[in-house]
């Protein structure tokens, strides 16, 4: 089958050939992309996303949606991509794929990824990504298939209850599937989003992160339908986990000082994405469209030399929150 042309503004639409197994993943990601886009347009309330479709010479392409200078979001990007082709064995092994032989392996991947940068430092940045990945033979026979993804929050103000709310929602979503999921995927997120070159300072307050979730093989017992449902639940979690934080904080007043701190923290976001993030590196070193890969970078970021914050200040308290903690022990209620 060929995936339908979906450019909302009629732009170029990548052609994708997919077997029924892959077509299911494509259709799932397509629907999720549209629904998440609608959520964030509703949240912003003023601006719309613009869509660019792009093709990847080696196979597949993507649809990048960006909202700029909105009422809430200074820059918001929601990418959908379907990419496939051949990976050298080393690259496939690096992905953690199984059944990789000496030669090249065919891969197929589709996913949604989102990063939104609010203008106000009172509103946190959020990132979300869910994806389906498979390695297969030339005849389409599956060698390995898994789901991956997660979502993490990057606040600029020390609203403990906002961070707790985000985690409480994610824990509930995970627990609806299996009690092991949040317990495993929360620390994985803490471990992943760290600037090791900054003494391990976290990018934000985490959330959940997972990879190589193989249907039928995970300790959660999730089968293919279950894994789809779980990844979809994470993909749709921001309506409950994040939207209330926007509503709570969007109209709070702030000053130059809060804005400056946000710009410095955004600099750390840039450092993580360019130096450490595996997804970004995968994009930089494959032939993906660069503006889509780097859509996650903030509209504006600052690198003052050796910034320091008064003990007890809002900035210092925010930095304290970046140390991994048990967020479920904190109240999510606004004081």
């Amino acid at each position: 089958m060929t995936a339908p042309a979906t450019g909302r503004d009629g732009t170029l639409s990548p052609k994708v050939e997919a077997n029924p197994r892959q077509a299911r993943a494509i259709a799932w990601i397509h629907r999720l992309h549209d629904d998440v886009t609608a959520l964030f347009e509703r949240l912003d309330g003023r601006e719309r996303f613009r869509e660019d479709a792009w093709e990847r010479a080696e196979g597949g392409g993507g649809w990048s949606r960006v909202l700029t200078d909105g009422a809430v979001f200074e820059k918001a990007g929601i990418n959908r991509s379907v990419v496939f082709g051949r990976l050298p064995a080393a690259a496939a092994a690096k992905l953690g794929g199984r059944g990789v032989s000496d030669g090249e392996t065919r891969f197929f991947a589709t996913g949604v990824s989102l990063v939104v940068h609010p203008r106000s430092p009172m509103v946190p940045t959020v990132h979300l990504n869910v994806r389906y990945f498979e390695l297969h033979d030339d005849d389409g026979a599956l060698r390995d298939a898994w789901f991956g993804g997660g979502t993490d929050l990057t606040p600029y103000m020390p609203f403990v209850e906002d961070c707790a709310h985000f985690h409480h929602v994610l824990a509930r979503r995970c627990d609806a599937f299996h009690p092991s999921l949040y317990r495993r995927f929360k620390p994985w997120c803490d471990e992943y989003f760290r600037n090791t070159h900054r003494g391990g300072e976290a990018r934000g307050v985490g959330g959940v992160f997972f990879d190589h979730l193989r249907p039928g093989e995970d300790e959660s017992g999730l089968d293919l339908d279950g894994a789809y449902a779980f990844a979809d639940a994470i993909g749709r979690s921001l309506e409950e986990a994040y939207a209330p934080l926007v509503d709570r904080r969007r109209d709070l007043a702030y000053g130059e000082r809060e804005k400056q701190f946000q710009l410095v923290r955004r600099g750390r976001y840039v450092e993580f994405n360019l130096v450490h993030d595996r997804g970004t590196h995968f994009g930089l070193h494959t032939a993906a469209r660069i503006e889509s890969v780097l859509m996650s970078l903030p509209p504006l970021a600052a690198w003052p030399y050796a910034p320091a914050w008064e003990p007890g200040s809002a900035e210092a308290r925010l930095l304290e929150l970046l140390r991994p903690r048990d967020w479920l022990a904190e109240s999510a209620r606004v004081p």
Copy 2:
């Protein structure tokens, strides 16, 4: 010997033990650091550099000087470091060192590096680095020693004559030593400072870049004294190559549009330094002081989504200038 305490403000001064061969390099870099600092204080005319000294647990340390919110420079950093210790064989081989055996190799390195970000987009950013590097045995016997360095210009406005001036000065400095130097080191610079993930777009208009310049072994015939003199000439080149550009352009009027373009180009500067620069990676993955390693990042940078510029506009003409060209064929005279 132990290098003298040199913190200009009396702060911690790294202790360095060095043999006479290394002491010569330390003294050279120390003097150069002071002289280049004085040049940029004179150029700014208002603010002074503040110095932080730092120690590296594994051996050595550095002196970082930063000038912030000056009359000309929004952020200017001039680092000096002396680092030494043991490198695993793989790391030594990656540096391009010779005589590396299976075990660890002792190394010693000292250098100055500078990046200045002017506030005005009419004034270009400049980077300069010179260093002396050696690999030696436990008893101090030399295995390999070389000089490296260079300087490159990153303009924001298409002043062709400024770029030509920079290159004419560098070519003259090089030619005073050997006719092969500029011919080899100019294309090396073009090749090095490229964002390969952006289709090879250059960071700026280049300059010169060299590495592994081994006294007595280079086709230029430079012996140890000659190599010192050449590296020193590059280290001192900005007084003639860059200072006149500051004087020419510092008082030109500009608007929001020029500032915005500068912020976008600075974003590309961040991308190069974090994704590709070998010196930055060496700093990120060794235990160097992170604020000194990332002192090169601009005070403020922007990532608007997929920026585009009108054909024929100043921005489009600047991008044209980023394509490597024979700058000596261009006139350095202001029209």
